[in-house]
């Protein structure tokens, strides 16, 4: 079971998928592609792992435990 968390005004919106559920997998993969197209940035981590153990992901990995989507940063 994996989860994507997309930062937004609610804190974040989560979408879960299971490798045993093709429909949830397809939905998660489509969302991943859409967020990439929006130029958001995905970081994957093992559930509960600190940020230092996270890694940038380039494509959807069904085996990922948690993917946190953030926005590009800019100078203020």
């Amino acid at each position: 079971m994996g989860t994507m968390r997309i930062l937004d005004h609610t804190g974040d919106t989560a979408l879960a998928w299971s490798v045993d559920d093709p429909a949830s997998l397809a939905e998660a993969e489509a969302l991943f592609d859409r967020l990439r197209a929006e130029r958001k940035i995905p970081f994957a981590r093992a559930a509960g792992a600190p940020a230092g153990d996270a890694e940038r992901v380039r494509s959807f990995d069904p085996a990922a435990e948690e993917i946190v989507w953030v926005r590009p940063v800019t100078g203020g």
Partner: protein
Amino acid sequence: MDAVDAVDAADAADAAAEVVLDLELPDGRHLVVFADGREVVVGRAGARPHPVAGWEWLDRPPTRPRTNAALPTPRRLPRVTPAADRRARELLESLLTEEQRDDYRRTGRFWVPTPRGPVRLGELYRLVHRPVDRPHLEHVLCVVPRTYADLPLPDVWTNLLLTLAVEPDRFFDVAVFQGARRCQP
């Protein structure tokens, strides 16, 4: 240029293109408001033409009447609720080490180690960086997520934390240097 660089270049272009309001001013110029809050007036101010053909104004011409009712409504950002703030805080704390979490709960700030020296998050627009090659100095930097105004503040720290922890160059490449000072305890 690989695909990621291409995306980054497109990011920069998009950052300049997110216009939420384009309003014609009475003098013919345009007020352009960007999603990140920047406001720019573009164009050249021109005298309003005299309504009678062939006549010239003897004094400074009046501006066009303001028609506030016709102004477009700027896009409103969704309100951040206490529940959203709590949820964002839970996510942030789950990404912190025990020491960082203690600091954050105690002071609202925490340090993130990077190859270029630690960066302190917790004060918007005033992030503190202690460069490894200048150990007695602190640099004050400003870096924010793009279009962050709709995010609960802990989400802003989550965004910056992950960027700093995983892709610090991405953070330092865009950081705006605000000043330097001697290290503070």
